[in-house]
Each structure stands twice: as C-alpha cells, then as structure tokens.
Amino acid sequence: MLRSLSVPRAAVRSAFKQSSSLPKVVAPSAIARLSKRSYATEAEERDLVIIGGGVAGYVAAIKAGQEGLKVTCIEKRGTLGGTCLNVGCIPSKALLNNSHLYHQILHDTKNRGIEVGDVKLNLEQLMKSKDTAVAGLTKGVEFLFKKNNVEYIKGTGSFVNEHEIKVNLSEGGERSVVGKNIIIATGSEATPFPGLEVDEKRIVTSTGALALEKVPESMVVIGGGIIGLEMGSVWSRLGAKVTVVEYLGQIGGPGMDSEISKSAQKILKKQGIDFKLNTKVLGGDVSGDKIKLEVEAAKGGKNETLEAEVVLVAIGRRPYTAGLGLENIGLETDERGRLVIDSEYRTKIPHIRVVGDCTFGPMLAHKAEEEAVAVVEYIKKGYGHVNYGAIPSVMYTHPEVAWVGQNEQELKAAGVKYKIGTFPFSANSRAKTNLDTEGMVKMIVDAETDRILGIHIIGPGAGEMIAEGTLAIEYGASSEDIGRTSHAHPTLSEAFKEAAMNCYSSAIHF
C-alpha cells in the first residue's frame, strides 16, 4: 500500500479530486511527487508488549497498567497464570492440603478424641475442588487485567523483528503487535528424562501427576527435589506406595540445609515414602502392565529393577523459549537454555527484557513476581530492586520445609565463621497443643557481627514463618534484633524467636 507521509492524507486526496463522474486512475507516482512515501504497519505501537501471561508476565502487565503504560500481554494457554496457577503451585497446594486432611482423618483424629466413621476418598471431587481453586484464581487475574487496562491477546507470539510480534490467535487468524518495549516471560517446562517418553498417564511430569484419574498402587518419583517430594506426598497420603529415586545424596535439592534435609527424609520415611539416594536411573521399560525402571548406585554398583504403575519424572525444569522466533532478532540462549540478561533485565537488544523462569535465578513464582515489578520500574523509572540473597524457598510437605539465605554447607565451603541457634517445635507450646511437634528452627548468624546469614525451618507452618526470616535478611537484622522482638504467645513463631535467642544467648524453653 502507498502512504502519504508528511502531508495529511485528506489533503493528498483532495488534491486528486476530479470532476468527471467516471472512475479516475491516480498514479502513485503523483502522490510520491507530493510527498515522501514508504510502507508502514497498521499495528498500533504499544508502550510494552509482554509475551507470556504466567506469574512473571501477568504481574508485569498489571504493574505496567498501574504505571500508566499502554500494555499488551500475549498468552497462548487460554488462561492466565502460567504454570504456577494452572499446573503448578496452586493445584498442587490444593491437593496437598486436601490429601493431608484425608490422611489426618484416617490416621490422626482418633488420638485427638475425634472418632470418624466410614472415610472414603472421592478422587473426582478432590480434583474438582482443585480445579475450582485454579479457575477462580485465573479468572481473577483476567479481572485484574481489565481493571488495569491491560490488553490480553490469546495466542502464540513470535518475533518478526525487534519491535514487532506476530500473534497466531488461538481463535484463528493472525495479528501483529508492535512494542516500544518487549518483555519475554515465557517460563519453563518440565525437563524430560532421556529414554522415558512422557504420556502424562503412566509416565507423568508434575502436570500429569496433578490429574491422575485413580490412585496408583505404586509410584516411582525420579528426582527428590521439591516438586517430586510434594507430589510424592500427595499420592502416598492417598494410598500409593511411593519410592523416590534421587541421584544426589540428599533430598530437597542443593539449596536445602543438609541437617534439615536429613530430618525431612526421616519424617517422610515415617509417613511411608521410601528413598533411594545416590541412585541413578538407567532406563525404563513400559511394555508391561507395570513400568520397570533400571536403577544403579550413582557411583556404580549393582543394578536393581523397580516396578511402578506410574512414574513421575521430576528431575527439574528448563527454560521454555521454543517458537519465540529468537533467531529472527539474533537472540541466543546459554547452554542451559536461559536468555542472557544484564542487571536491568535487558538482553543485548536493550528494549527487549526477560524475567522469570526463562532467565537466570531460581525458578520460583515469587522470584518471578519480584522481577516483574522491578522490570516495569526499570522501564518506567529507570530503577528497580530485587535482592537475590533474600528469596525464600518452601517445600509444602507435612511438615513444611522453608529456608532463606545461606545454608550451613555453603557457609562451611566459603570459610565463613558462623554460630547456630536452634529450637525444636517439641518445646513450643502451640505445637504441643496442636499435637504437631516435628521439626525445628535453625538460625545461622555471623560469628562476629551476629548478622543473620541463613534461616532454615522444618515444621508446621514453616512456609508462613519464613516471611519473618526473609524480612530479617532483607534488612540485615541480627539474631538479637529478632530475639528482642515480642512474639505472641502461644504461637509457633515463638520457636523462631527462641532460635534467635539461642544464637546470641540461650533459649528460655529448651
């Protein structure tokens, strides 16, 4: 198409108005003589275009809307919230909570003086209840988009050039979006296990493990990290015989403090989960009724065959950037598939930024949220803030495990002089009244300054309690700052205070 550029179009047209009633031909060269011409897109330029409507993407979109930017968010799933809301944190917590209730009614209420009759599991209803929670939250995000004037496009976006994104619309058709700034927030996907083809029925990732149609008789979990242990807990509580196979010598991943990890393993073992640590999975055979997994000691040793009705592959997640058309703009990923960014989330093309799972840092929803707010502040104000040293991790098993800052093995390796204060929940009044006393709070402080370096909790409500620890680390608190702060009685948080007191002085109740 031809376009008049520096002269208003209406003026150009009026210049060519002809008196005859017959159609007249206007030579484009005539227009060109009046003006300069070129080609241009019909797409409106947006201040910010975000590819991905997961936690990183939707939070950035809402924040940008609040900052008055004209923002568009492209999401292909059909619902907002990404992995976290749809097939991750949220549905897993629904299953964890309800399976814990079921397990408690079956095994724990009698001691508490509550005798329950016939207890039955209705898995279909359990799943429905999970789906209701998910649907409510994803719709809630859609509402927040409307409230904050975020344009939401359902479709798959890919780069045409450094400013233009082509969207294959979910409902069919195509459209183009042009952005002054672009954020890539396409998240991550489960890492497949070589040689085991995921069908989400018998060989499942966390996605399939959230939607099994019946409780399997047996389940092998490959990977003893947080996802594997949470989903393993769910199906173990519902009646499956669960075995966790982990390549490393400890469960919970490398971030978990070794002492806490051992304690968690002991407690989960007591709940019925078997563990095979330092064990490598060699391959699997899915031809029979049961899946046969060949395993051997990680450092070499005797082979063993494990049989299971369902195998959960939970060896980690990898960045998801497929189909983005990165090759069209010359962006490359590192050896682990992460998009390389600088400290302001910029790629080497500065107006294209990346946040969340598809770039550096832990793959955690709350880390992605922090980055999403910061990246919009960088765009709008030129300054943002995320403290990567104060990002908590939580494992929502029962008891929960939570930590923030450095663990003991890291501090040892770094040669830092530290002191430790601990307090067991068995000495905490509220844990006693709740008959839920497993676990402890472990606080690690700098030996010289008393500054808190790491906090590690295993116990009831650890995931909530770690917020206080994160605040303490964010603001450089000492253990004495916490120990001299009043904590309500009787609460679990008194264990937190007493662990702090145990660092610089002594706990009172232990």
Binding site: M1, L2, R3, S4, L5, S6, R9, R13, F16, P23, K24, V25, V26, A27, P28, S29, K36, R37, S38, A40, T41, E42, A43, E44, E45, N161, E162, H163, K180, V340, I341, D342, S343, E344, Y345, R346, K348, I349, P350, H351, T359, F360, G361, P362, K381, G382, Y383, V386, Y388, T449, D450, R451, A472, Y475, G476, A477, S478, E480, D481, R484
Partner: protein, 130 residues
C-alpha cells in the same frame, strides 16, 4: 510531654546494643544511576558475554537512521518516524479513486502471462488437457 523523646534518650544513654535493623525512610530513586550493562546478580558466570550491549540496538539505530528524513522520534523535521502508521488513518483510496498497479514496485504488479497460460485462456483450458 515529649515522653517518648525522653524515654528514647534515656534508653539510648543506657543502650547495651544497637539494633542492626534501621529505619530507612521513604524509598527514593538514586539521583545518579549507571545504566551501562552489568552482569545479572543471579548470572552463573557473573559476566556478560563478549559484545553484550556494544552492538547498537534497533531502537538506537532508529534514532539516527534516515529514510526520506529521520526515522526516529528524535527527528524534528516531522518525518515518518514522528507518527505511527495507525495514526495516519486508513490507506485505502477514497471512493472513485484507484491506484495504478503498474506504478507499484515490481513485486506488487501482475505477473506476466506466459505463452501456455495465454493459450489456456484462449482455448478455454483445452490446451491443458489435450
């Protein structure tokens, strides 16, 4: 009156310890910020790849590029870059006005007919099947 002040002064005088948490006050954006690319704090290598940030971006290129005048918004001459295509309105000609296809660049013109196609048209397609 000023009881809190007095208490605080007294407490300070007898303080055995100084809290490490301090009141930071309302957050402000630093007056001077270095925007040159630095390695991301969570980067495993703690360094940026060679050439990162040194090649001009399309945005910066657009600031200086010329095509019938400056492309970038920084251009003050009222060039193409000053207004989005959308804001210029529809590009279709008014009723009764037409663009001549032959004046367009070659890729938009009709493709020339070859002999076989001319024959096919003239024979009603018979040459294609006979």
């Amino acid at each position: 009156m000023f009881a809190t002040k007095v208490l605080r002064a007294s407490a300070a005088a007898h303080a055995e310890r100084t809290p490490m948490i301090k009141f930071l006050g309302k957050r402000t954006i630093p007056s001077s910020i270095d925007h040159t690319p630095h390695a991301h704090p969570a980067s495993p290598t703690h360094e940026l790849p060679a050439g990162f940030g040194s090649s001009p971006s399309f945005s910066s290129y657009r600031q200086q590029a010329q095509q019938h005048g400056p492309l970038g918004k920084a251009g003050k001459s009222g060039g193409i870059g000053d207004r989005s295509g959308h804001s210029l309105g529809p590009v279709t000609p008014a009723k009764g006005e037409y663009f001549d296809r032959n004046e367009l660049p070659a890729r938009f013109r009709r493709r020339p007919l070859d002999i076989a196609e001319i024959d096919a048209i003239e024979t009603g397609g018979a040459t294609l099947v006979c």
